[in-house]
């Protein structure tokens, strides 16, 4: 391995990466990877809305009583992976409620899992779009 032989990453690739994170699937669509964008982005969107419909909740830095704020950070990072979906929900205050009535729903934990996975899958989608933009992938 020789130091200094790596090719510089074009600015366009970074832009693609940021947009792919912000709007799931957009990074692929911008590069005309229609099917891959629809499949991967669609899976993220579906997972997010199914999670919300199941009564799941997302995490932010407001820890419930008796819990540490630091414990909120890892799941918040996962949730944050959905980009604009998370930010818009946070601004609207929708999907962050964690009251006992909601937690009593049979699908509550499933909903949480779907919301976490939506974010993590979008991180993978974002990296895939970035790799395509750099030329590491066809």
């Amino acid at each position: 391995m020789h130091a200094g032989t790596a090719e510089p990453i074009p600015g366009f690739a970074w832009l693609i990466g940021v947009l792919a994170w912000f709007v799931p699937g957009l990074g692929h669509l911008m590069q005309k990877r229609w099917w891959r964008g629809l499949l991967m982005g669609g899976a993220v969107w579906l997972s997010f809305f199914i999670g919300l419909a199941m009564g799941g909740h997302m995490f932010d830095l407001n820890a419930p009583e008796g819990s540490s704020q630091y414990l909120q950070v890892p799941p918040m990072i996962a949730n944050l992976g959905t980009g604009a979906l998370y930010i818009i929900s946070w601004l609207l205050g929708y999907g962050f409620a964690d009251d006992p009535a909601q937690a009593a729903r049979a699908t509550y934990e499933y909903g949480n899992t779907f919301l976490l996975i939506a974010g993590l899958m979008n991180y993978l989608t974002m990296l895939d779009a970035f790799d395509i933009a750099v030329g590491r992938k066809p």
Partner: protein, 55 residues
């Protein structure tokens, strides 16, 4: 039944993403996607039975 359907849905969505981003050709991706789906389902069912016997 609901639990199984949710697990199936979860496996389907995750395997679509894993399948789409892996491998080089479309055929390889489809095969890999189904393989990941099958692995999710089998491991999920095995874990469910193991946990069933643990009080």
């Amino acid at each position: 039944m609901r639990h199984f359907l949710v697990m199936t849905l979860f496996a389907a969505l995750a395997s679509v993403v894993f399948g789409a981003m892996a491998k080089d050709t479309t055929q390889e991706r489809v095969v890999y996607g189904f393989k990941v789906f099958a692995e999710f389902m089998v491991i999920g069912l095995v874990l469910a039975w193991v946990l069933y016997f643990i009080p």
